[in-house]
């Protein structure tokens, strides 16, 4: 039997939630970024699922582009982490509070 | 734009309003150190402005009717923000004419009075004063509520700077207090203006207008009228100021330099009462009628409370400041009474207060320039060393105290007589303020001029210089002229006031409609207006 699309969607929702929780709770910047990747994947999954549901390509195309975006984001983000680490020797976001609030 | 420039070149209100600001530009090219040049330049500019003012008024007064009425004169309306029905629209009638003239007249006097007191940044000071004049004149002459609001706010910044830059110890506190108080009221008024404009649009088939004459035609239901009236009244009452919204005034006056105080007391406060007369009452007649008891109570509190607090002051300037609260209480009472005589008196009293309190502030400033103190404890017996100062102080004080044959009396008498006719006993209560005025003003004279000259620092004080006399003399002459022959000053504004009053009364007595409606145009708007002829200007 074929799996109902809503199951995929539910899975994606749960994955998204897990990612969000991770992004909100980790202290290590890169871990946060990893969690965000989980969220992106969750979104991708639901896009693919919807594409399947409608039987057309749009969802897949979006996923395709998101892959590229994720790559670009990762490049810039990781470069940033390197830059920050160079100055501060840490990527713990809890310690990134030089600024007056 | 080109039409605007063409207007500014002629004998028009536009020239009157914008000349001072335009005259700021050359200030940029004067050297920073050339203080004397700046002072003289500013004085010349202000005198030219006086000439412009007189030229305008006299040229139109020549057309006044047999009743001596100053005609409604206006510049051609120029579309400003046409898509919102906003027009650049300046007009002068008998109500705004005296106040505008007062404003213009006070400008050179303020410059003369600040000659010594202002020690730094003269260019900026001149610019502030000139821009302030534009703002005040614009507010007085605007015939479009949007334009009015713009000018109204334009006044704030220069005054804020004048207090804050050239003021005394606590100048920043005072400047901010002044700004925030005024702004608090005017922002709500802005909402009111917008609401009004929108309502007009709703009943006018989707066409915007903020023109005063158009908005006057709006009949609003009581519900919205009350709120709108509250918004407008708040803005104006803060400016007046009326208890309990008055606390900015003593601070602002005490801290402001002489010129600032003169302008503040002489003109800025009047805009509160002027606005009340011009906008708050006629636009919302039923609502204002419904709040007469409250407003009367506030006016009375202002009169009595201002006088009493003034009495116990130990600072010369603060005493005069509080006296303004009392004096403007009279004006408010006159306005609220909605009686022609009271209105005439109120309008006259606005001018009077500008003259006499302006003179008093100038005198305080002259003393401060010499002694760098304003405490009564530091003075006493000054009449001995400064007879001219004593003369002018006594003269202005008496005018302020409402001594007959001087201006204060004419205004107060008309206000109170009219108010008594319209309101009854509250006017009698207010009349008691006359007694209190004598109490605090004579105390003021007592502590400065009379008694033995006890302090050694005061022995060497020089009497007023020719420049200072020149600043004071026109004020005192006007005080005398108004007191002796008020009719000369009343006649030009009487028809304007009486038609405004007639409209107000007629509407105030009718019940408010259930929904907003537009009254039909009685006559073409331009019919009774005499426009400045201007070749090629689009109408």
């Amino acid at each position: 039997m074929s799996v109902p699309v809503s199951w995929y969607l539910a899975l994606s929702a749960v994955l998204f939630g897990i990612g969000a929780i991770g992004a909100l709770t980790r202290r290590n910047g890169i871990s946060i970024f990893l969690s965000i990747e989980v969220m992106l994947n969750a979104a991708n999954l639901s896009l693919a699922a919807y594409a399947r549901q409608f039987g057309e390509h749009t969802g897949q195309v979006i996923v395709f582009f998101v892959l590229a975006v994720a790559a670009a984001e990762a490049a810039v983000g990781l470069a940033l982490f390197i830059g920050v680490f160079r100055g501060r020797r840490t990527i713990d976001v809890n310690r990134m509070n030089l600024m007056q609030h | 734009m080109s039409t605007f420039l063409a207007l500014a070149a002629g004998n028009t209100l536009t020239r009157l309003v914008f000349f001072p600001t335009a005259a700021c530009l050359p200030l940029l090219f004067l050297r920073r150190g050339a203080v004397r040049a700046v002072k003289i330049y500013t004085l010349v500019v202000s005198l030219v402005e006086v000439l412009f003012g007189l030229a305008y008024v006299l040229s139109h007064a020549a057309h006044s009717g047999p009743d001596g009425a100053f005609p409604l004169t206006r510049d051609p309306r120029l579309p400003w923000i046409a898509s919102y029905g906003i027009h650049y629209d300046l007009a002068m009638d008998g109500i705004s004419m005296p106040l505008a003239l007062l404003t213009i007249l006070l400008l050179p006097i303020v410059i003369l009075g600040s000659w010594r007191g202002i020690e730094r940044h003269w260019r900026a000071f001149s610019a502030a004063m000139l821009v302030l004049t534009t703002g005040v004149l614009g507010s007085l002459l605007a015939y479009d509520l949007f334009v009015f609001y713009v000018f109204w706010e334009v006044m704030l910044v220069p005054m804020y700077l004048v207090i804050g830059v050239w003021g005394g110890e606590r100048r920043i506190y005072a400047a901010i207090k002044f700004f925030l108080f005024t702004m608090a009221g005017s922002l709500l008024m802005l909402v009111g203006i917008l609401w009004l404009g929108w309502t007009f649009k709703m009943v006018n088939g989707g066409v915007w207008s903020f023109a005063y004459e158009d908005l006057l035609r709006l009949d609003l239901p009581m519900g919205s009228q009350v709120w709108l009236f509250a918004a407008f009244a708040l803005a104006f009452l803060i400016k007046v100021p009326i208890f309990p919204l008055h606390t900015w005034l003593p601070d602002a006056h005490v801290e402001a330099p002489t010129g600032g105080s003169v302008i503040l007391a002489g003109i800025l406060l009047k805009l509160g009462t002027y606005g009340f007369l011009r906008f708050a009452m006629p636009l919302f007649p039923q609502a204002s009628r419904a709040h007469v008891p409250l407003l009367v109570a506030l006016a009375l509190i202002g009169i009595i409370y201002g006088a009493l607090v003034s009495w116990v002051q130990v600072d010369f300037k603060k005493l005069v400041a509080y006296s303004s609260i009392a004096h403007l209480g009279f004006v408010m009472l006159g306005l609220v009474a909605a009686d022609l005589v009271a209105w005439q008196g109120a309008l006259l009293q606005m001018v009077n207060h500008g003259l006499s309190t302006g003179a008093l502030f100038l005198l305080v400033g002259m003393l401060y320039d010499r002694r760098h103190t304003k405490q009564f404890a530091d003075f006493g017996g000054l009449a001995k060393v400064m007879p001219l100062f004593a003369f002018f102080l006594v003269f202005s004080t008496l005018a302020s105290a409402g001594l007959p044959a001087l201006n204060g009396f004419a205004g107060e008498f008309l206000i109170l007589a009219g108010s008594y006719r319209a309101l009854g006993w509250p006017a009698a209560v207010a009349t008691f303020g006359v007694v209190l005025a004598a109490v605090y003003l004579l105390k003021m004279i007592q502590l400065t001029l009379w008694g033995p000259l006890t302090r050694d620092e005061n022995r060497g004080l020089s009497d007023l210089s020719a420049r200072e006399v020149l600043a004071l003399a026109p004020l005192c002459l006007l005080m005398l002229a108004i007191g002796v022959a008020p009719n000369f000053f009343l006649r030009p504004s009487q028809p304007a006031l009486s038609s405004l009053l007639a409209g107000y009364r007629q509407r105030a007595e009718a019940p408010a409609p259930a929904r907003a409606a537009l009254r039909p145009l009685a006559a073409p708007t331009q019919a009774n207006a005499r426009s400045t002829p201007l070749a090629g200007a689009p109408r």
Partner: protein
């Protein structure tokens, strides 16, 4: 050319004099040459007197008894039209004469009295200004013009009381006078407003005849049980009480003696203080229609008369005695107004102007001679040194005491007779008693001042000007420029009464020219009987005799008590014997102190509360608290920006959830 067209010149001339001397010549304290100053200072009132006499003459010859009005210009037009206009009628004519005549005399006297003063020029400027204001008051054809003069004289009074402005107390006395007067003015103004509200005008000729013709206009209840006439009458009376120093507003007048003595003579005896009486008489139509208020006026007048007289008994300052006497005599005049004897009031006003001015000027001569000494306990025996002064002073005292045939006798008697005739026997009795007291304290003063031995220390005058060497005492008669006025006034004090000799004493002949001349001023109220004050010739004669007897008794008692060297000792004895009573009287019943405790101090306290508590603490405090609370909210709120990006993400996340809930709820 009709002299009445020049009516406006009468106040304008002295005004011009004031401007010339005060502003033009005296700019910034400069001094013009003395002859020039004198020419202006005396010329203006003299010219004014001349015009006034011409006008009176012409009026008496021609227009009498109709009032004549001359409009100068419109003060306001339209809804409330008020003209600056002048009016001459019998009442104005009498006042005009008194003011210009006595005024000029006193100007003349001042030339001598003030000769050595530094502020000579300023003095005359003020004095001329006073003349202008007083004449405006008298000549105005409406209440507003009257009020202009009314306040103008108040101002001059303020300036002249505080003439010695560099002293400690004189300016305070001036201020007190002005403020107390203002309390009265407040009521006067309210009365005017009431008239404006009802009649739309303030012209005498458009209000008073109308009231008289239609009493119904003003008799209905208006306010708190008062009719309109009652209300206006009450207001005007309070105003008059302020100006004319009646209970409870008399307190300023004794203090006003801080001014130069000629000022006291002119302003605080002869003219200004009588303005209240003038105003009340001018408004007699109103008072006739307000019997209750009239009674009040009479009672207050009588009370003031006796009250001030008792205080006068124990004063040691010669000018204070005269001041209380003035208060007392003004009380008489109001008594007359209250009982409806309007012409009698004006009659007494006129005679009083002569003899009281005389008394003041004579006392001024004394003070002048003693180098500023006013304390009678330091005088004595001066009759040898100052013969003319002495004689004129005694004439004035006799006139005041009401000894026939001097002026005071006729006028005072007219009042007493009128009170008796009106049936107010209590008031009459009070008046009579006052007459006795008056005679007593006047002759106490005569004795203390002129009889006995000189008690002053010739080397050390009591009141040297501060910072200046004490002037030597020059005990000699004043120069002619001072004594001639005394003599002229003395003649007036003797003869002024002869214009109003009552029928009983004229053996039925109508010699009461004064009453005849003034009679048109008293309004004839429609439907009311004309006032008739006649108790019958016999009773009249008896009453006259009684009053003369009482006066004579007063004099006798005074001479007995204070004659010779007993004077000052007598006061000490009295003080020891009746300490409470003497203290009470000598301290003027502590009225000033009561006012201070009851009104001034609570009001000052209240004002401070307003300032410090209401203004600073409550109003400003709540606004500042609001600002502070706003700032505090911001300060607390900014803690939300922790700097930790995870918190920021959480805000975002929670925001999303919140908005979603809002959207689908």
């Amino acid at each position: 050319m009709h002299a009445l067209d020049w009516l406006w010149l009468i106040p304008a001339l002295p005004f011009a004099g004031a401007v010339l001397n005060g502003v033009v010549f005296g700019w910034g304290g400069r001094r013009a040459p003395r002859p020039l100053v004198n020419a202006v200072a005396l010329g203006a009132p003299l010219a004014s007197l001349a015009v006034a006499l011409a006008c009176i003459w012409q009026y008496a010859q021609g227009a009498w008894p109709q009032p004549v009005e001359r409009v100068a210009y419109a003060w306001t037009t339209g809804d409330l039209a008020i003209d600056v206009a002048f009016l001459i009628d019998p009442l104005a004519a009498v006042m005009l004469f008194v003011v210009t005549f006595v005024g000029f005399i006193i100007h003349l006297y001042s030339v001598g009295y003030m000769a050595h003063e530094e502020g000579y020029q300023r003095y005359f400027a003020y004095l001329n200004l006073f003349m202008a204001a007083m004449l405006t008051l008298v000549l105005g054809n409406n209440y507003l013009v009257m009020f202009v003069g009314w306040e103008g004289v108040g101002l001059c009074s303020y300036l002249l009381i505080g003439y010695y402005y560099d002293q400690e107390l004189a300016p305070y006395a001036g201020k007190k006078a002005f403020i107390v007067n203002r309390v009265g003015d407040f009521a006067f103004l309210v009365g005017m407003f009431a008239l404006v509200a009802r009649f739309g005008t303030l012209d005498y000729t458009r209000i008073l005849p109308r009231i008289a013709a239609h009493p119904g206009l003003v008799t209905g209840e208006y306010w708190a049980g008062l009719s309109f006439a009652g209300f206006v009458g009450l207001c005007f009376f309070i105003g008059a009480a302020g100006k004319s120093a009646q209970i409870p507003l008399y307190v300023w007048l004794p203090d006003a003696m801080a001014g130069p003595t000629p000022v006291s003579a002119l302003i605080h005896a002869a003219t200004m203080v009588t303005a209240g009486v003038y105003m009340a008489v001018r408004s007699n139509a109103i008072y006739q229609l307000a019997p209750g208020i009239s009674l009040l006026v009479a009672v207050v007048g009588a009370a003031t008369a006796i009250f001030a007289a008792t205080i006068g008994l124990a004063q040691n300052d010669i000018k204070k005695v005269l001041a209380y006497s003035t208060v007392s005599q003004l009380g008489y005049m109001f008594l007359a107004v209250g009982v409806g004897a309007y012409t009698a009031a004006i009659f007494h006003l006129t005679t009083h102007a002569f003899f009281k001015a005389l008394l003041f000027l004579a006392s001024g001569s004394v003070i002048h001679a003693l180098g500023g000494e006013q304390d009678m306990s330091k005088m004595g025996g001066l009759r040898k040194h100052l013969p003319i002064t002495y004689r004129t002073f005694v004439i004035g005292a006799l006139a005041l005491a009401g000894i026939p045939p001097l002026a005071g006798f006729f006028s005072k008697d007219a009042i007493l007779a009128a009170s008796a005739a009106a049936g107010h026997w209590v008031l009459w009795a009070v008046g009579l008693l006052t007459a006795g007291l008056t005679a007593f304290y006047m002759f106490r003063a005569v004795c203390l001042t002129f009889h006995g031995e000189l008690r002053a220390d010739p080397e050390h005058p009591a009141h040297p000007a501060p910072g200046e060497p004490a002037p030597a005492l020059h005990l000699h008669e004043s120069p002619p420029v001072m004594t001639v006025p005394l003599v002229i006034l003395a003649a007036g004090a003797v003869a002024a009464g002869w214009f109003g000799i009552p029928k009983v004493l004229a053996f039925g002949a109508d010699l009461d020219r004064f009453d005849r001349f003034l009679a048109p001023v008293v309004a004839r109220i429609r439907g009311a009987n004309p006032l008739e004050h006649d108790v019958g010739a016999a009773a009249d004669l008896f009453l006259i005799a009684l009053s003369v007897a009482v006066a004579a008794a007063g004099i006798a008692l005074a001479v007995r008590a204070y004659g010779g060297e007993r004077g000052p000792a007598r006061d000490r004895v009295l003080a020891e014997r009746f300490p409470a009573l003497y203290g009470l009287v000598a301290n003027k019943y502590y009225v000033d102190e009561i006012y201070d405790r009851l009104i001034v101090r609570p009001l000052a306290w209240l004002s401070r509360v307003f300032w410090k508590v209401v203004d600073t603490f409550i109003v400003d405090g709540s606004i500042n608290a609001g600002a502070y609370a706003t700032e505090l909210t911001g300060d607390i709120g900014r803690l939300s920006t922790t700097g930790n990006v995870r918190n920021y993400a959480l805000y975002f996340f929670l925001g999303v959830i919140l908005l979603f809930w809002w959207l689908v709820r």
